[in-house]
Amino acid sequence: MPHPFIVLMGKAVRYAARLRGGGSALPGLFVEKIDPDFIKKTLAQLPKGVVVISGTNGKTTTTKMVVSLLEAHGLRVFTNRTGSNFTRGVAAALLKDVDMKGQLEADIAVLELDEAHAVKFVAAVQPRYSLLLNVMRDQLDRFGEIDATANMLAKIASMTSQAVVLNREDPRVRRIATALQTQQVSYFGLGDDLLHHFPSDDDMRSRTVKTIKRPEASVALTKHQDNHATFMIDGRTYDTDLKLNGIYNVFNASAAIALTKAVMANEFDVAKTIAALATVTPAFGRGELMTVGGQPLELVLVKNPSGFRLGLKSFEPEGWATMIAINDDYADGRDMSWLWDVEFDTLASVGVSQVSGVRCYDMALRLQYDEVAVAHIEPELSIALRQFIDHNRDTPKRIYCTYTAMLGIRKELAKITKVEVIS
């Protein structure tokens, strides 16, 4: 059990950091320095152990879904809700939830972790379950190569004690199963009709999706239309309406169901699962809807080519004004090459109203080569956002943005509308 004094000091740092504004990982850093075993000792108390969720795209929304589904089964769930998905973020989130004695009132921990940090994390705290979503070209500045990232996920899987849930449709993730000996392996997947929506990073080039023999999926998304989805769970189909938008969010719902099945085993309740799933809303910036001047405004986080392609495919541009904001800070990735792996021709019919961010001219240049018209370009996010709203008063608005651009835009939006506070 962690020392009460350290818990108290950590909580004090957390309080001070919040007064300062921001810095969700700072208190975690403090505890990590003073008591490196804090996380391990605190999580070791949990009766149902630890779940690790990793992969390139969709971690935050999937984690949110898993938490809801497990809570629907009556579990008390601890999670790193802030999206600060580094070890330090976990420590910070723990500090918030433990009592003064360092006790965590929870049955299970569900943690989303960035691939590289997850590898470090599982070396210290063995997860009982892991869910591995996908490997895509993202943040290559940090990891170098996509195969290296796949190896990180394989490492997480091999360190998992009980069950591993894998994406059947991502060849690099599916392959992880071959090296697993003792763990139960199950898959989430797509019906054949939907496969073409998710070219893997390899198929993206050839533009044809090869149908090869795939293992049986424990849960598969078989139909998807707007907010309506059909899942195949253990050979039976279930229809439901969802609050999630975008097919990649809905695909990850099948991942969340498969993981819930693995965790709950005999106590898995399909009806409760589907009912809970229907109420989950997207995580912040992942198709998050707000209202500005009586019109909807949607934020779509884009981090890598596949995510951007899926975003463009998921959201109909007709009838919406589009803004794109591209930054190149460390958290966004410094390399602009990725914009050239995305096709923007779906925006050609309506054009783009506003382009912004540090790399707005790179984005404008990219659109020029797909012959998409750009109405306004302004590097400064606050000015661009105001222009975008002024120019499109009576139209629903959609903003595609990189991570730090999203943070900046949310901050500006908070001045004019209600934006969920992320603590």
């Binding site: 500045d141 080039r205 190149d328 410094r334 390399d335 090459s337 792996d341 540090v358 790399r359």
Partner: protein
């Protein structure tokens, strides 16, 4: 009357990473904007080698991608060599730049034979040269891109450096060379993608290809305002 120009894209399935597709797109569009008809031929492992080629373009890949295409590349090496000797403009980025050289020796001491069009050799290291890069070349001025490689390349006698490093690493961590040039063949480590931000290179390749095929070249004026603005922002970004 439309005048086609045939672009051979080498191994788009396996050697195409970090936006190398952008280079093909820029050649296609600029050919159109200059009044020509681009025809892209995707060449993958086992495909028949096309009978007519005006421009050759190839990109980078994972180590696994390099291994997949290696035997096939050695097979078509003589045809590519003939095109190079005939003055065909070519742009090879990263992985294929390395394999257009004499050899690539991995950090595990395994040697991948190259096709030797460029007199360069590459040695795998555990150090990744990564970040924004600016180089300079007399013909093209400042060249702006992004590098991301752990192979370090050294030039032999029969080849010239493509450019000199102004900011960043380039071919290796020892000299200031970036890329290599032999006749109209350019090898470079620059992603970014390289052609969108450096359209003078694209236009030079187009001019060479069109002149060679049709003797006459009358380009149109292209509005490169966004290119200029994107270049000036990129110049000031951190490594």
């Amino acid at each position: 009357m439309s005048q086609p120009i045939h672009i051979l894209q080498l191994y788009p399935n396996d050697m195409n990473i970090y936006g190398d597709q952008g280079n093909v797109l820029v050649l296609q569009r600029r050919l159109q904007w200059h009044g020509y008809e681009p025809v892209v031929i995707e060449y993958n492992v086992g495909d028949p080698f096309p009978s007519h080629v005006d421009i050759v373009i190839g990109g980078g890949g994972q180590d696994s991608g390099q291994e997949k295409i290696h035997a096939d590349l050695l097979k078509i090496g003589p045809q590519l060599k003939q095109l190079a000797e005939d003055g065909t403009p070519m742009l090879l980025v990263c992985g294929l730049y390395q394999l257009f050289g004499n050899f690539f020796k991995t950090s595990q001491e395994k040697t991948l034979q190259g096709i030797g069009i460029l007199d360069v050799e590459t040695h795998g290291t555990n150090e990744r040269l990564i970040g924004n890069i600016i180089t300079r070349n007399d013909e093209f001025g400042d060249i702006i891109g992004y590098e991301n490689h752990s192979g370090q390349t050294f030039l032999g006698e029969g080849v010239e450096p493509f450019a000199t490093v102004v900011k960043g690493a380039g071919n290796n961590s020892r000299d200031l060379h970036e890329g290599a040039r032999y006749k109209n063949v350019i090898g470079t480590y620059l992603h970014g993608s390289v052609l969108p931000k450096n359209p003078r290179i694209a236009d030079a390749m187009i001019e060479l290809a069109v002149t060679k095929r049709y003797s006459d070249y009358t380009p149109h004026v292209i509005d490169d305002l966004f290119t200029d603005l994107a270049r000036s922002v990129a110049m000031d970004r951190p490594r």
